[in-house]
């Protein structure tokens, strides 16, 4: 995993920034987003892919692509979490100030 990070840090930084931006936007976005059913299916798909990557089930080039996809996704999700948390915290403080 460290090898993937050291070799693709630029791209992973891109995924992180994308995640931050998405997370930042998601807090104030109207609408429901993905339906619960679709979200579950997607989560299941990711889980299967993750297991396949960790168990090194997919050989050769596809295995490398899968590993890379999982790493980018993890970084993206981490970025999203951080973005949403930052935006959420900022809004919460704003409301608190208004209340005073």
């Amino acid at each position: 995993m460290t090898y993937i990070v050291t070799f693709h840090w630029g791209w992973m930084l891109g995924a992180l920034l994308l995640g931050l931006a998405m997370g930042w936007v998601a807090v104030v976005q109207r609408g429901e987003g993905l339906s619960v059913a679709a979200f579950r299916r997607l989560a299941a798909l990711v889980a299967v892919a993750l297991v396949a990557a960790l168990a090194r089930l997919v050989p050769g080039q596809f295995g490398y692509w899968l590993d890379l996809a999982m790493m980018l996704l993890i970084v993206y999700l981490a970025g999203c979490s951080a973005g949403s948390a930052l935006r959420g915290a900022l809004i919460a403080r704003h409301h608190a100030n208004k209340a005073v």
């Binding site: 987003g33 692509w65 890379l68 809004i91």
Partner: protein
């Protein structure tokens, strides 16, 4: 305070689309570099492993390692080493052991412009060691390494093979071979004595190795002598076994060639055939009987050619050389007869006898009347002179020194004179023209008080009547 709502995660999905773009772009641009990097680093790591025919294929981060290892342990450790290269995910093991060579044969061959190494070699280190040894003896010629790796080399193979390559250095052309622990050699030695040097060096073969065949030949061992009556020289060239036999041969030549200056161009070298000294002495004895002639001894073949001084001598030489040679030697005599010189009157004959006997002495075996073989050259010259005055009567007088009993001396001198007369008679001088007489000690020409004087008194004189 902000709290995380799980529903929020459902709003993150639109980012997945650009993320997929990032993913494809990353895999597209970096995939080849990853494979290259892993291949290079694996190759660098496996440099420490002893492998042959190593082939590393990379797909993504997975390796396929194909190689031939020299031991099961080495094979396993190579696969493990490849698996530990950072970044490598899976290793497909396509390694195997180097095939076993049965029988294990190895050879090195020297040609005019090439030195070829062939057969099986157990390890890369051995291979480079043998190539290094070959470079050491090649003398600048090209080295062709056609060896293949094989397991099953006998113990101490390296040492044996290096020793054999060193022997190849002593060959002009030829081959050294190992079949298991059996050593065989063939070819032509570069120098005289090379065969013996190789045979001696083979004694240093490591334990367990045996010489099955040593068919190394040596260049011919050549000894030559040329008798030139015009310059009055005997030129000796070629080789003799050692300094002692060199000195002995020169001494023998001095005794046999009473009239010639000896030009000594001999060199010492090992590699002489057995009984060389005896054969050389016998052949030189026959050469001394020729007026002009040459002697070539090549290994065990003796070739004598030239002109004998008179017809009987020619026959004697033709038939006499072979039996004098040691067993296993071959003789070839191409002898013609020197055209006879014109007859002269007795006074000239007397003068010629005097000249000959002034230069050389007829030698007898100690206390006996048998003529030494060393004196045949002188006797033939005396015969030649005698043949030029057929009408004259030759008085052959034997003399002794003052040592010993008078009567015995008298009898010995007579017998010696008779022995000389017999030699002349056999050579074709009419017996009734020969008068052998013995004077014992009665007519000394020098004082009998010194050894030198005694030696001068022991003599044969020719007087023409």
């Amino acid at each position: 305070m902000w709290t995380f709502e799980p529903g929020l995660m459902r709003k993150w999905w639109p980012g997945l689309v650009p993320l997929a773009v990032i993913w494809v772009a990353a895999a597209w641009t970096q995939g080849g570099a990853v494979e290259r990097d892993l291949r290079e680093r694996t190759a660098a790591t496996l440099k420490e492993a002893v492998l042959d025919k190593t082939r590393i294929e990379v797909a993504g981060r997975d390796l396929t390692l194909a190689a031939e290892a020299f031991s099961e342990e080495g094979r396993r450790s190579a696969v493990a080493m490849a698996g530990l290269v950072p970044g490598v995910r899976l290793v497909t093991d396509r390694t195997r052991l180097v095939p076993r060579a049965e029988p294990f044969t190895w050879s090195a061959q020297r040609e005019v412009a090439r030195l070829i190494l062939r057969g099986s070699v157990p390890l890369p280190a051995t291979r480079s060691r043998l190539a290094e040894a070959a470079r050491g003896v090649a003398g600048g010629v090209e080295i062709a390494d056609e060896m293949a790796f094989g397991r099953g080399a006998p113990p101490r193979f390296d040492a044996a093979a290096v020793l054999l390559i060193e022997q190849l250095g002593r060959l002009k052309e030829g081959q050294v071979q190992l079949a298991g622990t059996q050593v065989s050699l063939a070819g032509m030695a570069r120098e005289l004595g090379g065969r013996e040097a190789i045979a001696a060096a083979l004694g240093g073969l490591p334990e367990g190795f045996t010489v099955a065949e040593n068919a190394v030949r040596a260049p011919p061992y050549i000894f030559q002598a040329n008798k030139d009556p015009v310059a009055a020289t005997l030129t000796l060239s070629g080789v003799v076994p050692d300094n002692a036999s060199h000195a002995a041969l020169i001494a023998a030549a001095r005794r046999k060639f009473f009239n010639e200056k000896i030009v000594d161009n001999l060199k010492a070298s090992i590699g002489a055939p057995a009984n060389f000294a005896a054969a050389a002495a016998a052949a030189l004895g026959e050469l001394s009987r020729l007026s002009t002639g040459s002697l070539v001894m090549s290994d065990r073949t003796v070739k004598l050619s030239g002109d004998a001084l008179y017809p009987v001598a020619a026959e004697q030489i033709r038939g006499g050389l072979g039996p004098q040679l040691p067993q296993g030697w071959q003789a070839g005599a191409d002898i013609s007869v020197k055209p006879p010189a014109g007859n002269v009157d007795p006074a000239i004959c007397q003068q010629l006898f005097g000249e000959l006997l002034g230069k050389g002495r007829i030698l007898f075996e100690s206390g006996r009347a048998a003529i030494e073989r060393d004196s045949v050259g002188l006797l033939d010259n005396l015969v030649e002179v005698a043949l030029r005055c057929p009408q004259a009567t030759l008085v052959i007088a034997g003399h002794t020194d003052a040592d010993g009993d008078d009567q015995a001396n008298m009898a010995l001198s007579e017998r010696r004179a008779k022995a000389v007369a017999d030699y002349l008679a056999k050579a074709g001088i009419a017996a009734d023209h020969l008068k052998p007489v013995g004077y014992g000690r009665s007519r000394p020409v020098a004082s009998n008080d010194s050894e030198d004087g005694k030696a001068l008194n022991r003599r044969i004189e020719f007087t023409v009547e």
